[in-house]
Assembly symmetry: C2
Homo-oligomer: 552 residues x 2
């Protein structure tokens, strides 16, 4: 199968196909003709598996552009503030690389580099004139997930039928703009925005480390783009793992902040007012410090003064080395009692256990999960309180065929239509679960939990049905960070799972059936750190400490 | 009509009557025989209007007991900590006075002074032994609204059918106990807990200042009891005005804190999981400083570490005289554009306007309300998303007749049954309203709003259908404090409303029809101060400043 074949879009009626192909043609036409990759690369068989090297090898980027796009957001901001780089240089380099990334991963839904360059020019002039940056993100190119509106650009709530040009910025993009961010692309997400996969009418986004695998979802366009270094910073959303799974699958850093701390008023979706499990929004990037950069910058703009639904919080990172009064207590959760991880993930967990157990900087303990199967069932029921009626209506309105993973998210027995009293009962069940989970966590005595973000590395396309490792934390609203361990799946080490082991659940049996050592070659192995609700500063500090021990 | 006639309870089938009369007889039997008031007082016609003087004149309390019960909670705590008063003396005095209060106002649903005295004895011994208080509320008698569980005592979710003996304390009562509080009574609330009136199977609670009037609801038992000085501090709840209306009607201080800052997990109700408009819980008391005492004490126990649904906050009071950087901007809202206040309330507003306009300490401005009629409609629709089905079922389960105000709260057109998508649409409408309200408030430029808590003083029984002056702030979740202006309704000054004025709404026409100068004689006139969400410290500080100006 060629790259183009792998990127197959969602399908529908002839009317759907006409509109959808026009949307794809529009993106293609937005890319500069000078940046087109050879057709042989895109349609040749077999397709390359690892495409992360293509921007460096294709000859379309200058050494200076390659050097710029190798920097993280923090370094870029520092160099622009110091006038070592101009904003125009920076967005031009990332824009070019994004155009290349899109051709091999189908990661974009809108490309408007001219506008980015124009804004960068204004910022360069501002810095020249005023002698200071306009804000902490001065000149930083930021890629934006499709359903987050940018004035004058395409966006959608997960269906062709709600694809539109946004009339206004939302709070998030308005704030980012004021902080100095430069917009130039929007990125792909799946039909429904509720898959750990990213296939829409714009195409199916591929994992740059292994194009047979998904980059995850729903912020999969972001993850593929950032892993291709076509963006130094992306804004994603996470209602069940949609920041963490793609970052984990693509070897990136990402945080799902506690809900209602970051601005997301105005984001497009199809179930406005559904509040069973709230989504959150946050950064996806290539270094731990970049997560802090973005969160600090946004919170410094006091979004709660604008959006009355937000909690006014500040980001305070405890000093875990000396200022914490005692060692950080890290609870290690090897598995969630529902689905046993694949060998590459287990290898990373075993390595972490060994490193943390012998570190003087933390106290390692086992973390026993609390009823994650029940939690995942409650979350699934909450996602579609109408039994999926609205989802089907949105598809019908656009004459769009339902994708297998969309069918899956609204499948019984968890998902069913609820009347008012059934919704109250469900929300009461959620509240009891949250309280029980909190009591359980306190009884365990750990500060943070280290665990898999997914029962394996990036999945093969259309197989991601178990989100329990991320969605459980959405349900209880605990902030979570994922980070790359530096390990990748290696067929020679990560051999087949034992057939003789009895599966612990149907989901476990399915997950076991998916494992095949050669299938995941080269996929990054990532881990997840969780802290309790509102402990976003702690989870960031703990992730950094844990990573330093793992990689020390 | 005699006092006993005025206290008529909710009614029902013979089975209901048997159970309800047993509940009332239980309370009566709990009162010490030595504290019984003469039958002539209770059954004589006409009933006294103002019964606040009865504890002082009945001869059942000693001068020492009268002196103790004249103190506010802060003074009591200080005197107990200094060992000038013992906890046993204090709860004994309030307990006796509560027994008297109940006979003339039907304010109690449970009376257990023996248990209170036993706990007070332990606390006295603790102080003697340890040389320090057990907590900031050491020895303070606190009365508790019926639906807030205390282990081993009666409570209900607003219906006979969910009346029960609580197996455990809830978070709030557990925390209060640990802080040193002494429990001895529980207090009456209305059928459904959703009236600004307090009539249940235990009887109808009367306003001690004028027994023809309601003490308000739903925390009306608390308000009557505290106004009778049968308790120095009560815990109420407020989902539409249920702390503020009763405090306003009875001349007390009360705050509805921002939702999800105070512990209320475990409170009894009949719509568990309904989260369209969240209730809040807070103190009802006889001084402004007592509100701070109670909130500070509870927040010092870090309830958010126990209840994961809570937002961790601290109570920080700005210094508005010198540390605010500029004058406090007070927006005065004379009316809400829906219902015009009665003459006594207008008189208080005019006085406030005059005093504030000439004060150097604040900047007075007009506050223009934003669509309060729309907000009240949304709130009413949110209160009963099932169209009242559950309410009717709870009544049917106990064979309890529906009260007129219960019928009213579930009446169309606002209230109707919703399916899942209708609930989402309603919640989305709520979120848009909240955002629009916030934008509007910011455009007005004031820090706090001073406004009526109700379109008049305490209402005559069964007439309180317009909660717009309080419920609007529940809808947008802005903290609000009510306080007594020191004025009371005076028939000679507060003359009839002009007939020629055209009503501005049906609710206004009804409210006008209720006014009659003589009907409200002696009722306290109270005002309400509102600040934005999470500005609980500001609203407390502002109320104190405003009161000092009004009374200066």
């Amino acid at each position: 199968m060629s790259l183009v074949d792998k990127m197959q879009p969602a399908t529908g009626s002839p009317a759907f196909e006409a509109t959808a192909s026009a949307l794809r043609a529009r993106v293609k036409s937005q890319l500069p003709a000078s940046l087109m990759l050879p057709a042989t690369l895109l349609t040749g068989i077999p397709a390359p598996l690892n495409v992360t090297t293509i921007p460096g090898s294709c000859g379309l980027l200058t050494p200076a552009e390659l050097a710029i796009t190798a920097l993280d957001a923090t370094a870029l901001c520092e160099k622009m503030a110091a006038r070592e780089l101009s904003a125009v240089e920076v967005v031009s380099a990332f824009g070019k690389r994004a155009a290349i990334a899109h051709q091999v991963t189908a990661c974009l839904t809108d490309f408007f580099l001219d506008e980015g360059i124009a804004r960068a020019k204004e910022l360069d002039e501002y810095l020249e004139r005023e002698g200071k940056v306009i804000g902490p993100l001065h000149g930083l190119p930021i890629s934006i997930k499709d359903h987050i509106p940018i004035k004058g650009h395409w966006g959608s709530g997960g269906f062709l039928s709600n694809t539109e040009i946004s009339k206004d910025d939302c709070d998030m993009t308005r704030i980012l703009r004021e902080l100095g961010a430069v917009f130039y692309v929007k990125t792909n997400q799946p039909q429904t925005i509720m898959h750990l996969e990213s296939q829409s009418c714009y195409g199916r986004t591929l994992n740059p480390h292994n194009t047979d695998l998904t980059p995850g979802g729903s912020s999969g366009g972001e993850a593929a783009l950032i892993a291709m270094k076509g963006s130094p910073m992306g804004i994603g959303t996470d209602g069940g793992g949609s920041i963490r799974a793609p970052c984990a699958h693509c070897g990136l850093y990402g945080i799902r902040p506690t809900c209602k701390t970051m601005p997301m008023d105005g984001y497009l979706n199809s179930q406005d007012g559904a509040d069973g499990v709230l989504p959150s929004t946050g950064p996806m990037c290539s270094s731990a410090r970049d997560m802090r950069l973005l969160l600090s910058a946004i919170l410094s703009a006091r979004p709660a003064s604008l959006d009355p639904s937000l909690y006014p919080v500040r980001l305070i990172l405890p000093d875990l080395r000396s200022g914490f009064g005692r060692k950080l207590r890290v609870g290690l959760m090897m598995h969630d009692g529902v689905v046993f991880p694949h060998p590459p993930m287990l290898r990373a967990l075993m390595l972490a256990k060994e490193k943390l157990a012998t570190s003087d900087a933390v106290e390692l303990m086992d973390y026993v999960p609390y009823e994650h199967d029940q939690g995942y069932s409650i979350a699934r029921e909450l996602y579609y309180e109408d039994g999926g009626k609205t989802l089907r209506r949105m598809l019908a309105d656009g004459e769009e065929n339902i994708l297998p993973l969309s069918e899956w998210v609204i499948s019984p027995p968890y998902v069913k239509d609820h009347d008012a009293t059934a919704i109250w009962e469900l929300h009461a069940r959620r509240e009891r679960f949250r309280r029980a989970y909190s009591d359980h966590w306190r009884s365990q005595g750990c500060d943070v939990v280290l665990c898999p973000p997914f029962p394996g590395v990036a999945a093969r396309h259309d197989t991601s049905t178990y989100w329990g490792y991320t969605a459980i934390w959405n349900l209880v609203d605990y902030p979570g960070v994922v980070f790359p361990t530096g390990l990748t799946a290696e067929p020679s080490i990560d051999i087949a799972m034992e057939d003789s082991v009895v599966s612990i659940s149907d989901a476990d049996a399915y997950n076991r059936s998916l494992y095949e050592p050669t299938a995941f070659a080269g996929a990054p192995v990532s881990l997840q750190v969780i802290a309790r609700r509102f402990e976003d500063g702690l989870v960031l500090a703990a992730q950094e400490l844990i990573e330093s021990i793992l990689k020390g």
